[in-house]
């Protein structure tokens, strides 16, 4: 069932971005979106329609786990953090990404 807008990100990179974003500290969904936007200098905007299904997917894979915590301004929110398996998956996806971007770079520079 097609839902939401097509992602602005290359297929499959959203998982990588999420895993990377929460690799240092646990974050909630809103925080993840904000962080990605911030760090990329507003280049990458994560749509809610993709973010939450992706979080669900990663959770189903048991790569991330979640717990309810207080935010800085005393609101309850669902925080996501990496599991051990998630950390391994992140390494794998990082390696993949480097290979892919390197390869794309080679082609772009050659032509």
């Amino acid at each position: 069932m097609p839902m939401g807008k097509p992602s602005d990100l290359i297929q499959g990179t959203l998982d990588l971005l999420i895993l990377k974003t929460i690799s240092l500290e646990p974050r909630h969904g809103w925080g993840i979106a904000q962080r990605i936007q911030q760090v990329s200098g507003d280049v990458l905007q994560v749509q809610q329609g993709s973010l939450y299904p992706a979080l669900h997917r990663l959770e189903q894979h048991a790569w991330i786990k979640c717990d309810w915590r207080e935010t800085d301004n005393n609101r309850r929110a669902k925080f996501y953090s990496l599991t051990a398996a998630g950390r391994r998956q992140l390494d794998k996806e990082l390696a993949n990404w480097k290979r892919l971007s390197g390869a794309v770079g080679l082609i772009v520079e050659m032509v």
Partner: protein, 897 residues
């Protein structure tokens, strides 16, 4: 993937399944948090709280769609869908209990009938014997090339010789089943005893659960092995039974073992109570020469293939041995008809993993008819249901259009509608399974005749369950797919624009279904009519005797050593005593009774009549005492009955029947003519002293046979048992205990068993009765379904056309013309259906020709009856909605839309 992660995943899936609500709540809260954070950002940029919130919601987009996206990511999605679809379907069905009841009932009947029939087929035809490696078991039969049928019984010398020489088999064994009495006097019980050869248990590979099996017991044949069932019934499963003695046929047998539960030997449908050695014949009937007789063929031959021997190899190896066996152990009379017949036989090896086809032969054709009938019933149920669902799906088109409009995919909706069908079919199947199990037991019990008790191990097993599941799935697709696809074909826009129910497309498929249903129903009704008329014809066959109120008691003086003059004296004394018994109108004896306890035939020599070559002239024979014809109710046409003067040493006499006279003395006087039996009977020439009417001898169907009767008193070969016939004015079996008392007053240990003549005649009608009963029942089911189908469809059509009918009435149409308007519609369908059904029946009824009697497969009256009954029911079913249409009030009808 490591174990921890698998556990984690499983936990998550289970959580999304079973804590569905809390998962959904968390999702809600997470979304709300996100929206609030967005709004907070907007407030920081200077928007008012309301503006910020509106903007945040706009930015966030469709919450429901986002949540659907999240749900899709959970891997339990399909389970949730099925569950919610099923819930939805159950609600729908609960809302229309009438439809649901009809649907469930017809499905339960259809699936149940198929399950029951399959259970029977599985038990009788498909199931392997509960013995060790049944695949290696074979049966050896004799066949005459170019002729139908096979010879499955052989003489004891045949068996001995073959067992000695046939090295391709690891075991070759045989058995003979008979009824023997155990206990004495009032507590005398007749049980089924299988007398088995030495390799029987070893060949079947059955180990006893207690004690030992029978092996070579020829030295000490007075030993017995009990069946599990009888051991439990009679000895309450007492393990101290070993070494105890039971009396069988008046002789003591030592119990040495008990067979495992479920073992019934190689004959499917039999249930022996006790197994004793074949060699015990020497003890039970010291006079009998059956073990050495070369002409008495009575033993089946069964064998287990030797290790590594294939069936073709065994068959090839048997051929040369076969000729030698007939040479060595065939009848001594080299020129006799038996030898000539015997030498024509060729050996054939048949697989016997599913047992010996004793029951199967008589059972195959009725079962085949039943399989077709129940398949047609299920088909009719499917067509009916499909039609009802079709009508429902039309009324549901708005709902479907709405769901399509809000973004449901057609595939998803199709899945939902099939879930509904599957739910219906599954519920129907569950009911059907119960019904099937119950009715297969009932069917199995209906198979037993007074003579042969058929006992089958009917029960639920995996094969039956798998079959039912398969039938259910097939059913679901059959009745569910067409309406579902049709409903989905609807386009969205016109439906939503209209404010009222609108029917799209012309309902050709619905009409086709109705015609199909009428045609199929006609097949069943016509079939039922044929079998009912067959049964009726058989019941009204002129038997040539009066079967009502005759008690038959079999006594076996030979078994207590009473023979020759002593036996004759016993018969005379008994007849004198029984003559004066209150309630005995007339008493006589015979060596055979008609129909089930026959047959004895010979080629007779008729003085002054030369036998044309090729004419077998088989005459069916019986030895009878004076008063036999009076007791049986067979009319003596001319001459005299036998009397006390026709004694052992007086001149041999005979009484013949009409057919005999017609055949041999068509133009001349038969009384006083001389006929004789083959010389081996040592009876000499007999004078015909009487002529009786033709009476049924073996069966009810065949031509009447030539028959000749001789005085029992003149018989040179004294039968070891006779049948005592007592005609009474009351229920015959009520006289049994009085007769037993009289018999035992002479000899307390004399074996005696009772049955009524009516039971004997009834017994041959078992399968005809069963077929008539079942086809009539299913014909009735088909009629009911056809009526429901027609009624449902027409009711729906009338509801749909209420406005139109209102207009017609308002414009002056008469009630009659409205009635006709509706009736015309169904009349056309019914007539087309009947025509198609009759054409199909013309071809199909020919296939059951061998099962019919007294009625032709293409019988105009039968077809007329069937079409008439079906037509009447159909008209009645359509008259009700038509009447409703005629009563439409134009004012209300026009407001209706």
């Amino acid at each position: 993937m490591n174990a921890m992660r698998m556990v984690d995943r499983l936990r998550l899936r289970l959580r999304s399944l079973f804590h569905h609500d809390s998962v959904e709540r968390e999702l809600d809260e997470e979304m709300r948090f996100h929206v609030e954070e967005l709004a907070r950002q907007h407030v920081e940029r200077g928007l008012t709280a309301d503006q910020a919130r509106a903007e945040a919601l706009r930015q966030f987009g469709g919450v429901a769609q986002l949540q659907e996206g999240c749900r899709d990511e959970r891997r339990t999605r399909w389970v949730e869908d099925v569950v919610s679809d099923a819930r939805y379907a159950a609600r729908l069905f609960a809302k229309s209990p009438g439809f649901t009841a009809v649907a469930l009932l017809s499905l339960a009947l259809g699936i149940g009938a198929n399950t029951a029939t399959f259970t029977l087929v599985e038990t009788v035809m498909l199931r392997e014997l509960p013995v060790h490696e049944p695949g290696a078991l074979v049966q050896i039969v004799g066949v005459i090339p170019g002729e139908e049928g096979s010879q499955g019984s052989f003489s004891h010398p045949n068996f001995r010789w073959l067992r000695e020489h046939a090295a391709m088999f690891s075991h070759l064994f045989t058995w003979d089943s008979r009824k023997l009495e155990t206990g004495e006097g009032e507590s005398m019980e007749w049980i089924t005893v299988d007398r088995v050869s030495e390799d029987y248990f070893a060949g079947l590979g059955v180990a006893p659960i207690l004690g030992r099996a029978l092996a070579d017991e020829r030295q000490q044949p007075a030993v017995a092995v009990l069946s599990y069932g009888w051991w439990r019934r009679r000895f309450h499963a007492d393990s101290a039974v070993l070494g105890q003695t039971i009396r069988l046929g008046g002789l003591p047998f030592t119990i040495v073992g008990v067979t495992p539960e479920g073992f019934f030997g190689p004959v499917v449908g039999s249930s022996p109570d006790v197994f004793i050695p074949l060699a015990s014949e020497r003890l039970l009937n010291p006079e009998s020469e059956v073990l050495s007789s070369r002409t008495t063929v009575w033993l089946p031959l069964m064998a287990r293939l030797g290790p590594g021997v294939s069936m073709p190899r065994a068959a090839a190896g048997l051929q040369p041995l076969w000729a030698a066996m007939i040479q060595e152990t065939g009848p001594l009379d080299r020129e006799g008809p038996m030898t000539r017949w015997f030498t024509k036989l060729k050996s054939q090896v048949e697989p016997a993993s599913t047992g010996v086809p004793l029951l199967r032969r008589q059972f195959r054709q009725p079962l085949a008819v039943l399989v077709v009938v129940v398949a047609v019933v299920l088909l009719i149920a499917c067509v009916n249901l499909s039609n009802l669902l079709l009508a429902r799906s039309l009324t549901r088109q708005r709902e479907i259009a709405l769901r399509l409009a809000v973004g449901a995919s057609r595939g998803r909706l199709l899945r939902q509608m099939l879930t509904e069908s599957l739910l219906l079919a599954a519920a129907g199947a569950a009911l059907g399974l119960l019904f099937g199990l119950w009715s297969s037991r009932l069917l199995a019990s209906l198979l037993s005749t007074s003579r042969d008790t058929i006992s089958l191990d009917i029960g639920l097993n995996l094969t039956v369950l798998a079959y039912t599941a398969f039938v259910t799935l097939l059913t679901t697709l059959l009745f569910g797919l067409a309406p579902a696809l049709r409903a989905l074909r609807a386009s969205v826009h016109p439906l939503l624009k209209e404010g009222t129910l609108q029917v799209i497309g012309r309902r050709i498929s619905s009409r086709a279904l109705l015609v199909t249903q009428v045609a199929l129903s006609l097949l069943l009704v016509a079939g039922a009519t044929l079998f009912l008329r067959t049964f009726h014809s058989l019941l009204s066959v002129d038997l040539g005797f009066d079967a009502d109120r005759v008690l038959i008691a079999s006594v076996e003086p030979g078994r207590i050593g009473l023979k020759d003059e002593a036996a004759s004296q016993f018969y005379r004394d008994l007849q004198d005593r029984l003559q004066v018994l209150p309630g005995a109108e007339s008493v006589s004896f015979s060596s055979m009774t008609p129909i089930q306890n026959c047959c004895w035939w010979e080629t007779m020599i008729v003085e002054g009549h030369t036998r044309p070559p090729g004419d077998k002239q088989d005459v069916f024979l019986n030895s009878v005492a004076p008063g036999f014809f009076r007791t049986m109710g067979t009319r003596l046409l001319r001459g005299r009955d036998f009397d006390a003067d026709d004694a052992f040493n007086s001149r041999p006499v005979a009484i013949v029947n009409e057919s005999f006279v017609r055949k041999f003395f068509p133009k001349s006087e038969a009384l006083g003519r001389i006929i004789s039996l083959p010389p081996s009977y040592e009876l000499g020439a007999m004078e015909i002293v009487g002529i009786v009417e033709d009476a049924r001898y073996i069966d009810l169907r065949g031509p009447t046979r030539l028959a000749a009767y001789f005085p029992l008193a003149q018989s040179r070969e004294r039968p070891s048992s006779v049948e005592v016939l007592v005609r009474t004015p009351g229920p015959p079996l009520a006289l049994a205990s009085a007769v037993r008392e009289q018999v035992h007053s002479f000899h307390p240990a004399m074996p005696v068993k009772f049955r009524s003549l009516a039971q004997e005649v009834d017994g041959v009608l078992t399968y005809e009765r069963l077929l008539a009963l079942l086809t009539a029942f299913f014909g009735g089911v088909a009629l009911t379904l056809a009526a429901i189908g027609l009624y449902g469809i027409l009711s729906y059509a009338v509801t749909r056309r209420t406005a139109e009918i209102g207009v017609r009435v308002a414009l002056g149409a008469s009630r009659a013309s409205v009635l006709w308007l509706v009736m015309r519609q169904s009349l056309m369908l019914v007539i087309v259906g009947l025509a198609i059904g009759c054409t199909a029946a013309l071809y199909l009824t020919r296939l059951v020709k061998p099962l019919l009697f007294g009625v032709k497969p293409v019988d105009p009256l039968t077809f007329a009856i069937a079409a008439g009954v079906l037509g009447t029911v159909a008209l009645l079913a359509s008259w009700l909605p038509a009447r409703r249409a005629a009563a439409v009030d134009p004012v209300r009808a026009l407001r209706y839309e």
